[in-house]
C-alpha cells in the first residue's frame, strides 16, 4: 500500500480504512499482533486483516462486519486527525484542476495544516513531480512528515518548518503551481511568484473571508499576475429516498354515502365518510437535499503568472 499506488492485499504497516457504515469509518495502522476495537467487536490484525484483499468484508468478534478499504487521499481527507481546519474534496478537486496539476508537476503549498490537501497534491504529481510544503507550526510540520513516511510518499514531498510570509518556500523558479492557505496570503504573493517557474505558472489562494480575498487580489495584481479569478464551490448532496405521498380525499368515494343521507349528528356515524375511503398513496424516488449543508468553506482565488 501507498497513497500513490494501489495494492491488492493488506500488508503489515499499511494504513487501511475500516468502514463501519454510512459515513462512519476510521483509519487504522495495520500491525501484526495488534487488535482494533469497533462497535461490532474486535478486529485482530494478524488474523483478520493481513493477507486479505482490500475491499473484503471482515467479521468482527461480536459477529458484525466491516469493510477494509484501500486508503485514497479522499478517504484520508474524511478520516484524518484534524490539527487545523482542513480542505475537503470538493475544494481540492477544483484546486487541482485549476492549478493544472498532473504527474510531474512541482507544487508549493503553505500551510501544510493537517495534510488533507497535501495528500491529494502528492497523489496527482506522482511519480515524477514534487510537493514543497511549508508549515510554520513546528508540531504540525513534524506530524505531517511522519504521516508522509507512513503513507509511503516521503520521496515526493519536502516539509519545511518556517514562516512562508517571511521566508518563502525555500525554492525558486521551479514550481508549476503554488497554493496558499494562510491567514495573510497577500504577504506571501511575492514569495509565491519567485517560487514559480520563469515561464509562468498558476497560483491559488484559499481564504474564508472576503477581506483576505480583496487584499490578496490587490497583491496579485501588484505582482503582475493575470487571469485573477475568484470563485466558490459548494457541494449539494442528495439523499435518495422513496417518498410516498397521500392522495387527498376530495370525497369521490363518499358521494354514494352523502346521497344516502346519514345524519352527522348521530355520533356513531360521524366517522363513516372517512372510514370507507380508500386513502391511496403515490410512491416515487426522490433525491432529497440534506437539511443542512456546508454553506461556505472559503473563496478560491486563482491567477496566472504570465510570461512577462
Amino acid at each position: 500500500m501507498s497513497f500513490v499506488e494501489y495494492g491488492d492485499t493488506i500488508k503489515d504497516g499499511d494504513t487501511a480504512i475500516v468502514f463501519l457504515g454510512h459515513e462512519s469509518m476510521f483509519p487504522v495502522k495495520v500491525q501484526h499482533g495488534t487488535v482494533t476495537q469497533t462497535k461490532y467487536g474486535v478486529i485482530r490484525h494478524s488474523m483478520d486483516l493481513i493477507g486479505k484483499k482490500y475491499g473484503s468484508k471482515v467479521t468482527c468478534s461480536k459477529g458484525g462486519w466491516v469493510f477494509i478499504l484501500h486508503p485514497t487521499p479522499e478517504l484520508w481527507t474524511m478520516n484524518l486527525p484534524h490539527r487545523t481546519q482542513i480542505l475537503y474534496s470538493t475544494d481540492i478537486s477544483i484546486i487541482t484542476m485549476m492549478l493544472e496539476l498532473k504527474p510531474g508537476s512541482i507544487v508549493c503549498e503553505s500551510g501544510t495544516g493537517s495534510g488533507s490537501l497535501s495528500h491529494a497534491l502528492i497523489r496527482t504529481v506522482a511519480p515524477t513531480g514534487h510537493l514543497y510544503t511549508v508549515e510554520f507550526h513546528q508540531q504540525r510540520a513534524e506530524k505531517a512528515r511522519e504521516e508522509f513516511r507512513e503513507h509511503g510518499v516521503e520521496h515526493l514531498v519536502t516539509v519545511t518548518n518556517q514562516d512562508v510570509c517571511k521566508n518563502g518556500f525555500g525554492v525558486s523558479n521551479i514550481a508549476d503551481a503554488v497554493f496558499l492557505d494562510i491567514p495573510s496570503p497577500w504577504e506571501a504573493i511575492g514569495h509565491a511568484k519567485s517560487a514559480l517557474k520563469a515561464e509562468g505558472g498558476r497560483i491559488c489562494s484559499f481564504s474564508p473571508c472576503i477581506e483576505q480575498v480583496q487584499r490578496t487580489c490587490l497583491a496579485m495584481e501588484e505582482y503582475g499576475f493575470t487571469e485573477i479569478n475568484t470563485l466558490e464551490i459548494l457541494l449539494r448532496v442528495y439523499n435518495v429516498r422513496t417518498i410516498s405521498l397521500q392522495i387527498p380525499d376530495l370525497g369521490k368515494a363518499a358521494e354514494d354515502n352523502s346521497s344516502a343521507g346519514f345524519d352527522s349528528s348521530n355520533p356513531s356515524n360521524q366517522g363513516s365518510p372517512c372510514a370507507n375511503l380508500q386513502q391511496g398513496t403515490v410512491q416515487f424516488k426522490s433525491g432529497v437535499p440534506l437539511r443542512e449543508m456546508v454553506g461556505h468553506t472559503g473563496y478560491l482565488t486563482f491567477a496566472t503568472k504570465s510570461l512577462f
Binding site: R236, P248, S264, G271, V288, V294, G295, H296
Partner: protein
C-alpha cells in the same frame, strides 16, 4: 413604566409572545406562575407582564426577569490579541477555573457577564489567541453563562423562522423564504378572497391572514375532521380577523363541484384531527423517521406551550358557561346542538362562497400529493389570478405541471426553488455563514385564464406552444413588441 401609547403594545397576560435569544425563537403563552424553559434557562414571565414588546430581560436568581436597559458589548478593552496561533499548544489545561469554581460563582449569584470576565482572566491562552479567536471564545462563554432574553411580538417573519428551526416536520419543511415567495407570488393583500389549503400547522394560513390584515375573506380547505391552526393561534390576531375566515372540508369538494353537496354528512369533530396530523407525515423512509423522532422532542415541548394557550381559552369559556353544576348536562346537550347548527350554517355559507368560483387566488402547501388538490381547487379561482403550490419534493410538482398543461386555463407556469445564504459581516472577517439550509422546498406558480372548454383540443396545443420556454422565440418576440 414606559408610556405604552407611544411605544407600542405591552405584554399582556394571555398573549402569545415570542422569546428570543440570539437567533433562537420560541413562542409561549404569557401566563403567571408558569415555569418556562428556554435555551437551557428556566424562568417565570410574571415580571414581563406590562412591559413593552421588544424589551430585553435578564434572568436573575429565582427565575425572575429583570428588564435590561442597555445591551452592552462585552468589554473589549481587556483584549490583547496575539497575531497568530503558532505558539498555542492545546493541552486542555489553559483554563485555571475549575467546574467547581464556576459553580461556586454561580451559587454566589454572580451575574453571567462577570463569570465570563473571570473566565477570560483565568485563561492562560486567551492573550495569545488572535483577535478572532478571542471573540469566538467570548461569544461561546457569553452564550453559556449569560442569560438574556428578549420578548417580541409574533409575526410571520418570526414564527416562520421559528417553525423552520424548531419543528420543520410540522410545516413540511417549508422554509421561511419560500413562504415569503408564496405570499408575494400569490399577490396576497387586503381585500382578497383567498383559498388556502395547507397542512403546515396553520402557519401558512396565519401568514396569509397577516398580509390581509382582516380585510377580505379566506376559505381554508381542510383534510380530516377540522383545520389545524396551532401556529395560527401563535400570531395573536385580533378576534375580528377570524370573522371572515371560513373553512371547508376537502372531502366535500367533489360533491360541491358535482352539485351533490349536502350538509347532512359533516366530517367528524375537529378533535379527531389531531391524530391524523400526528400519524402520517408522507414519508416511509427510515431516515426521515429517525430525523423526525429527533425533532419530536423539541416539537412536543413547543407544541405543549402553544397548546396550553388553546386549553387556557377553552377553560375560560367553560368557566363562564357552566354556572351551576346541576345544569351541566342539559346545558352541554343544548350547547352541542347549537354548535352543530352553527357549524352547518357556516358550512353552507362557505359552500356558497366557493360556488361563486371567483376566488382571487389559491395557496397550497400540504403533506398531500399536490396534483389532485391543485386541479380541483383551481375550479374555484377567477381568471387572471395567481396560484402557488408548495411541495417539499420536486417530483410531484413536475406532475402538477404536466397535468395543468393538459388541462389548460393556466399560463406563466414556473417551477422554482430559492437558495438562501446568510452572511457574517464583521470587520475583516466577512463571509457566508458556514452552514446553510440544503433546501427550502419547491414552488409551482402560475396565473389562471379563462378556460376555453369547447376548443380544448386546439387551445391545448396552442397553449403548449405558447408556453414552451424557447429562448429563440422569446428573442424574436422581443423584437416585435
Amino acid at each position: 413604566m414606559e408610556d405604552g401609547s407611544r411605544l407600542g403594545p405591552r405584554i399582556c397576560e394571555g398573549d402569545c409572545a415570542v422569546l428570543k435569544r440570539d437567533d433562537v425563537f420560541k413562542a409561549v403563552p404569557v401566563l403567571r406562575r408558569r415555569k418556562i424553559i428556554f435555551e437551557k434557562q428556566w424562568f417565570y414571565l410574571d415580571n414581563a407582564i406590562g412591559h413593552i414588546y421588544g424589551t430585553t430581560f435578564e434572568v436573575t436568581s429565582g427565575g425572575n426577569l429583570q428588564p435590561k436597559q442597555e445591551v452592552e458589548e462585552t468589554a473589549t478593552e481587556t483584549k490583547e490579541a496575539g497575531t497568530d496561533n503558532r505558539n498555542i499548544v492545546d493541552d486542555g489545561k489553559s483554563q485555571k477555573l475549575t467546574h467547581d469554581d464556576i459553580k461556586a460563582l454561580k451559587d454566589k449569584g454572580i451575574k453571567g457577564q462577570e463569570i465570563v470576565q473571570q473566565l477570560i482572566e483565568n485563561s492562560t491562552t486567551f492573550r495569545d489567541k488572535t483577535e478572532f479567536a478571542q471573540d469566538k471564545y467570548i461569544k461561546k462563554k457569553k452564550k453559556k453563562y449569560e442569560a438574556v432574553i428578549t420578548i417580541v411580538k409574533p409575526s410571520t417573519r418570526i414564527l416562520s423562522t421559528m417553525y423552520y428551526a424548531r419543528e420543520p416536520g410540522k410545516i413540511n419543511h417549508l422554509r421561511y423564504d419560500t413562504l415569503a415567495q408564496m405570499l408575494t407570488l400569490g399577490n396576497i393583500r387586503a381585500g382578497n378572497k383567498m383559498i388556502v389549503m395547507e397542512t403546515c400547522a396553520g402557519l401558512v394560513l396565519g401568514a396569509v391572514m397577516e398580509r390581509m390584515g382582516g380585510y377580505g375573506s379566506i376559505i381554508q380547505m381542510y383534510p380530516g375532521g377540522g383545520p389545524v391552526r396551532a401556529a395560527t393561534s401563535c400570531f395573536g390576531f385580533p378576534k375580528l380577523f377570524f370573522d371572515n375566515l371560513h373553512e371547508f372540508p376537502l372531502s366535500k369538494v367533489d360533491s360541491l363541484l358535482s352539485g351533490t353537496f349536502s350538509t347532512e354528512t359533516l366530517p367528524s369533530e375537529p378533535e379527531d384531527n389531531v391524530l391524523v396530523e400526528e400519524e402520517s407525515n408522507g414519508l416511509t423512509d427510515e431516515k426521515q423517521t429517525a430525523l423526525q423522532e429527533g425533532e419530536e422532542e423539541s416539537t412536543t415541548e413547543a407544541a405543549m406551550e402553544i397548546n396550553q394557550i388553546e386549553e387556557q381559552e377553552t377553560t375560560d369559556i367553560n368557566a363562564e358557561d357552566v354556572e351551576f353544576k346541576e345544569n351541566k348536562e342539559k346545558e352541554n346537550v343544548r350547547e352541542k346542538q347549537r354548535k352543530q347548527w352553527e357549524r352547518r350554517k357556516k358550512l353552507i355559507e362557505t359552500a356558497a362562497l366557493l360556488r361563486e368560483k371567483n376566488a382571487d387566488g389559491l395557496i397550497v402547501a400540504s403533506k398531500f400529493h399536490p396534483s389532485p388538490l391543485l386541479l380541483t381547487l383551481l375550479e374555484f379561482v377567477a381568471p387572471s389570478r395567481p396560484f402557488v403550490v408548495y411541495c417539499q419534493y420536486k417530483e410531484p410538482l413536475l406532475e402538477c405541471y404536466t397535468k395543468l398543461r393538459e388541462r389548460g386555463g393556466v399560463i406563466n407556469l414556473k417551477l422554482s426553488e430559492t437558495w438562501l445564504r446568510n452572511y457574517q459581516v464583521l470587520p475583516d472577517r466577512s463571509h457566508p455563514k458556514l452552514t446553510m439550509s440544503g433546501g427550502g422546498g419547491y414552488l409551482l406558480s402560475g396565473i389562471t385564464v379563462v378556460l376555453d372548454k369547447g376548443k380544448s383540443d386546439s387551445s391545448h396545443s396552442q397553449a403548449l406552444k405558447m408556453e414552451e420556454p424557447s429562448c429563440k422565440r422569446c428573442k424574436v418576440q422581443d423584437l416585435h413588441c
